[in-house]
Symmetry: C2
Subunit: 496 residues, 2 copies
C-alpha cells in the first residue's frame, strides 16, 4: 500500500492538529477540545486499545447516546484499522442481543441506559467500558504519541446497522475512502466551509446525523453534541456555539420554534419553513437546502442523489452525487429505458464495502459490480431521478425505516396470532404510524398484541393500531398490501 495517494480518517486528525491548532473540534456539555487535544486523546485511546490487543478488523461498539467520545472512538478505530459501530440504544433487549451476537465486538463502550446492563451476556468476550470515569481511566493509560499504524483507506471503519428489510438488521460497512468521498460530496451540495459548526441533534447511529458530523470534521469544523434531542438545549447551543447546521425535521423544528424565542438563532442556515422559523434563522440557499435533501441510504454513505441538483426538473429526487453512477435496471440487471420503473443501482467511491458477516446477501446486493439499493426508481426524460419507494414495502415513522416483515415476524410469535400483515397509515406528526391487520387463532386484545411487540422490537416499530380480520387478502403467497391499504386506510409511504 503506497501511502502517496492515501488518506484515512486518522490522517485527517493528523492534518487538522497542524492546520487547525487553535480551532475547537468538539463541544459536549462542559467538554471543549481543540484539534490537537482531540488528536492527543485519540492517540491515547488508540494506544490503550492496542495494549488490550485490539487490532485491525476488530469491532468496537458505542452503546449509548451521542457524545464527543463517539467521534473520538471512531478516530481511534480509524488509527487502529478497526471498525466502530454505533448502536441504536432505543432498540429492545432482544434486538440489542442480536446486534451484539452479530457484531462480536472486542470492546463495548456503554452507558447505563434502560436494558443495556441486562444484555451483557450477549457479548461476554467483549471488554465492557462504561462511558465516563472508566473510559477516561482507560484513555489515560495510553501514550500520547501517534502509533502511526499503516491503514488502508479501502478498509471499513464505520458500521451502521440498517433497518431490518430482510427480517434482521445488517451492519453496512463504510470505508475511510467512502466516508471521505461522501463528506466532500455532501459539503459541496451544502456549500460547507472550514469553521462549519454542526449541532449533532439527531442520533449518531443514524447516517443522517453521522454524515454531517463527518463532513464537519473533514473540513476542520466544530461538532457540538447533544446526548438526545431537547429543543431548549438545542436553542441554547445554536446561540452559544453559533451553529451553522443541525439535524432537524418536522416535530423537532416545531419544538425549536417554541423554545427558540429569546435566542439568537441567526447563525443556523436551514431550509425555509414557517414564517416564524424563517424569521429566527438564516434561510440557506445552497443546493442542499434549495430543494431539501435527496435520495439516500446508509449503504451509500448517506446521499446518493441531491434534489437541489435537479430543481425544477421532472424527477422528485434530483441528480446523483458527482462521485457515483446510477442506473435503473430490471431484475436481470439490464438497464431500463428512460421513463420505466426498475431498481436503483449505483457504483462509486462512497458505496459501502458490504454488510458485516453477510457473504450471500453481499453477493446479491453487489451483483455485477453495482450496489443494488433495493429501491425502485425511474430516470426521467430530463435526466433527473425519481425514487418511488422500496422494492420491499417499507414504512417511515419519525425518520426511522420500518419494514412490515419485521413487525409481522414479531406478531406471528404470539400464540393467538394465526396470520397478520402490517401497513402504514399517514400521520401528520411522524409521517406514518404502524397498523397491524391480524387474524386470530386464540384470544388476544389489541393492547396485548402491542405490548407483545414492545417487548421484542423497538418501541417505534410497534403497531399503534390493530385491526382484526377474518383473512388477509393475498397476491400469490404474499399479503396484498394495496388491498390492505385500501381496506384499512394505509398511505403516506416514502416516495409516494
Amino acid at each position: 500500500m503506497n501511502p502517496l495517494h492515501s488518506l484515512t480518517l486518522g490522517d485527517l486528525a493528523r492534518e487538522h492538529r497542524r492546520s487547525w491548532p487553535l480551532a475547537t473540534a468538539v463541544v459536549d456539555g462542559d467538554v471543549r477540545h481543540t484539534y490537537p487535544e482531540l488528536d492527543d486523546r485519540v492517540n491515547r485511546l488508540t494506544n490503550a486499545l492496542a495494549a488490550e490487543g485490539v487490532g485491525p478488523g476488530d469491532r468496537l461498539l458505542w452503546l449509548g447516546q451521542n457524545s464527543h467520545r463517539v467521534l473520538e472512538s471512531l478516530l481511534a478505530a480509524a488509527k487502529l484499522g478497526a471498525v466502530l459501530s454505533v448502536a441504536n440504544w432505543r432498540q429492545s433487549a432482544a434486538e440489542l442481543r442480536f446486534v451484539l451476537g452479530d457484531l462480536e465486538p472486542a470492546v463495548v463502550f456503554w452507558q447505563p441506559l434502560d436494558g443495556v446492563a441486562e444484555v451483557r451476556d450477549a457479548a461476554e468476550k467483549a471488554r465492557w467500558i462504561q462511558d465516563g470515569a472508566e473510559y477516561e481511566t482507560l484513555l489515560a493509560t495510553g501514550a500520547a504519541a501517534d502509533p502511526e499504524i499503516a491503514v488502508d483507506p479501502a478498509a471499513p471503519v464505520l458500521a451502521l446497522y440498517t433497518a431490518a428489510f430482510d427480517g434482521t438488521p445488517n451492519a453496512a460497512l463504510l470505508s475511510h475512502a467512502a466516508l471521505i468521498g461522501h463528506s466532500l460530496s455532501l459539503a459541496l451540495a451544502r456549500q460547507m466551509e472550514p469553521g462549519f459548526a454542526y449541532l449533532n441533534s439527531g442520533p449518531l447511529f443514524h447516517v443522517g446525523t453521522a454524515m454531517f458530523c463527518l463532513a464537519t470534521f473533514q473540513l476542520g469544523g466544530k461538532n457540538v453534541f447533544l446526548p438526545a434531542y431537547d429543543a431548549a438545549e438545542a436553542a441554547r447551543l445554536i446561540e452559544a456555539e453559533r451553529c451553522d447546521g443541525a439535524f432537524l425535521f418536522g416535530p423537532m423544528i416545531d419544538a425549536l420554534v417554541e423554545a427558540g424565542a429569546g435566542h439568537d438563532l441567526s447563525s443556523l442556515h436551514a431550509p425555509a419553513g414557517s414564517e416564524a422559523w424563517n424569521a429566527m434563522i438564516t434561510v440557506d440557499t445552497s443546493p442542499w437546502s434549495r430543494a431539501f435533501a435527496g435520495y439516500g441510504q446508509t449503504e451509500v454513505g448517506g446521499m446518493l442523489t441531491y434534489s437541489g441538483y435537479g430543481v425544477g426538473g421532472i424527477g422528485s429526487h434530483g441528480r446523483p452525487s458527482p462521485l457515483v453512477q446510477v442506473r435503473i435496471v430490471d431484475p436481470s440487471g439490464a438497464e431500463l429505458p428512460v421513463g420505466e420503473i426498475g431498481e436503483l443501482v449505483a457504483r462509486g467511491q462512497h458505496m459501502m464495502t458490504g454488510y458485516h458477516n453477510r457473504p450471500a446477501l453481499n453477493a446479491a446486493k453487489q451483483t455485477g459490480g453495482w450496489h443494488h439499493t433495493g429501491d425502485l426508481g425511474r430516470r426521467e426524460s430530463d435526466g433527473t431521478l425519481s425514487f418511488l419507494g422500496p422494492r420491499l414495502r417499507m414504512l417511515k415513522s419519525g425518520g426511522e425505516n420500518i419494514y412490515p416483515v419485521e413487525v409481522e415476524r414479531c406478531l406471528a410469535t404470539h400464540p393467538a396470532v394465526a396470520e397478520c400483515a402490517v401497513i402504514g397509515e399517514r400521520d401528520m406528526e411522524w409521517g406514518q404510524r404502524v397498523v397491524a391487520v391480524v387474524v386470530l387463532k386464540g384470544e388476544a386484545t389489541a393492547g396485548e398484541l402491542i405490548a407483545h411487540c414492545r417487548d421484542s422490537i423497538a418501541s417505534y416499530k410497534k403497531p399503534s393500531r390493530v385491526e382484526f380480520a377474518d383473512a388477509i387478502p393475498k397476491r400469490g403467497y404474499s399479503p396484498d398490501y394495496d388491498a390492505l391499504d385500501a381496506a384499512y386506510g394505509g398511505g403516506g409511504y416514502p416516495g409516494s
Copy 2:
C-alpha cells in the same frame, strides 16, 4: 479490479449522458454538443483509435490551441485507458522535438501552427491527425456504441508538461482518481454547482485552465472554448453563454474591462478588482475568490492549498485541500516545527502518479510516500501555510514558470558566452521579466544573445535585457543569485 467503488472520467461521460441529456457540454465557435452528443463522439473516437491499435498506456498528444476536441480526445483516452498530453504550442521547435521524443505518442492531433509541421520527424512512428476535417473523418469511422473497456481509476489519463526546473520539462501524469478528487475539492472551494459555465480563456496545456475545465465537466456544466485569448471574443462569449467563470489574470482582465463595455458580463463571478471591473461582473464570495487562489502546481493536480481557507490568518497561502496532508520537512524528510522553513511535501488523492519516463526523478520526488513539491514553505502558529518560493530559484512571467537553469543552459551554447546567470526583475505588467548576466569569451551583442535564445526556447523565456559582466559572483559552485539581484535590480520572485 472491482468496479463497485470505481469512477473514471469515462464513467462521468457515461453518467452525464443520462443525468444531463439536454444540457450543453461544450461550445466552440459554431459547435455545440449536448452531453449525449459529446459521449457519442467520444465513443466513436475511442472505437476509431482502438481500431488503429491504440490501447491502454498509449499516449495521445494534442498539439494545438484550445478546442472542444481537447476534452473529447481526453475522454477517448479515458475510455481507452490511454493518456492525453496537451502540448504548449508556444514552445520552440527544439522544445517541441524534446516533448515528442520524450512522450513517444501513438497519435498526434495537430494544428498547422508556426513550427509544428517542421517537427514531425521527431515522432515519425506516430499517426499525425490534423485538427478539422481529418479528425472528423477518423471519428466518423468509429461506431457509436460504448466500448466499455475496464479502466483502473488509478491509471494516468492526463499528462501535463511542467516547466523545466531541472533543465528539461517533465510530464506530470495525473490519474482519473487524482483529477476527480481535485475537481471536487476545487468545486467545493469555488462553490461550483451543476450548470456552471466556464470560459476556457487560458491555455489547456496549463493546469490553471485544465483544472476548471475538468471540474466543470465533472459537475455536468458547460465548457466554452476560446482558441487563444481575445478580450473582445471573451466578452461576447461571457454574455452569450452566461459564463460563471473564466481563466483571467492581470493584463487579461484589463483588456476585458475595455472590451466589455456594452456587454452584459454580470453572469461572471470573479474576485473583486478595480471599480470598473466590479461594476461589470458579480463579485464572487466563495472561499476561492474571497482570498484569491492559493498554492499549487501541476504535480498535485492544480491546487494544494486554498488561501480562502485561511482568511485573516498568518500564512500567505491558507490551508490544504480537504483531500491532502501537508508537512514541512528538512532535507532528511523529518518534519520541522511550526515557524521553520523547509520543503513543502504532501500526500493524498490528487497527487500525480509520477513523471512520465523518469524513474530516478520519481523516486526522489516521492521519497517516503510524500510528494516533494520542490518548494519552500512554513507552517505558521495558527496552522496556516506560507509558500516562500521554489527550492530551486524560479521566475514567473505572464503566469508562466521560468527556471533560470534552463535559460542559462541555452545561453551557454552560444560560442561567445563564457559564463552566465539569469535573474528576474519586477515588471508591472507581467510580474517579472528575464535578465541575463553574461561573461563573454568572444564577440556578441545583447540582441544576438536574445535572438539565440528565441531560436531554441519559448519566446517568453528569452532575456528581455542582457547585462555584461567580468565575472559571475558565486556561492560555492552556483551563482550567488542574491548578490546578482542586488547588483542588477532583480526582484518580484513568486512567494516573495
